[in-house]
Symmetry: C2
Subunit: 142 residues, 2 copies
């Protein structure tokens, strides 16, 4: 069914104090910076402190995709299909995390809530919206 | 800062009754199907009807990325940076939508709430989780 491979260009990278795998809940308490390539700065216009951003980034350190994983990497939990988890070992290593915008300073967006390692390539930033949740079910017929 | 280009492979495609651009709110009321390549079926294990899935897909019909857009394509709304919107005209044409799982039948996941055109290449499926929202702020010091 058409084209199979899709190539995307990093629009910037993550600056974080975390350089090695760390539990997401720990990483998410700290601040990180989204450092955009200067040519994309115009795309930040209208973004404000307090906004929620969905950050799409490449899981650039992951080398082994898997189809079954232990949820949260916990071997005591029964294995599940990777699409029923948020494991980093995915057929396409794309990370997705919702973060809070703290400040925008030129080409740098300071955020809290990211779980991406230092140097992670950023693929996209999307303001959170009702697209992130399924719509309400249709009204039942009367 | 390291590798700039990232190539991903479609893991399947969207089957939808919409073949031309249509308002997202209209598309999202209808059912769609996520048709996975058979080799990825194992990755669906544990997924259940009622679950919310974040669908990442290639906006395969979009040819002109933009940095400033009218929100929701409405020319009466002042232009904004693309990262402060969900416009399809993005530097990297990746779509993200949260959908409700209705049924899983082999390699086909029937969903409601998707706004992707027929034939859209699927890049990833991720079960919704607390990663989609920023964590609560830290407790204030006392």
């Amino acid at each position: 069914m058409g084209q199979k491979e899709w190539t995307f260009r990093a629009i910037g990278y993550v600056r974080s104090c975390f350089t090695e795998w760390t539990e997401a809940d720990v990483m998410r308490q700290e601040e990180s910076e989204l450092v955009l390539d200067p040519e994309f700065v115009e795309g930040l216009e209208g973004l404000q402190p307090g906004d929620v951003l969905m950050v799409l980034y490449a899981l650039h350190r992951v080398k082994e995709p898997r189809l079954k994983v232990h949820p949260r990497g916990d071997p005591t939990k029964p294995m599940k299909g990777v699409f029923a988890t948020r494991s980093q070992y995915r057929p396409n290593p794309i990370g997705l995390t919702g973060v809070r915008v703290l400040a925008i300073e030129g080409n740098v967006v300071r955020v809290r809530g990211l779980d991406a390692l230092d140097g992670s390539p950023i693929l996209d930033l999307k303001i959170a919206s009702d697209l992130d949740r399924p719509p309400d079910p249709p009204e039942p017929a009367r």
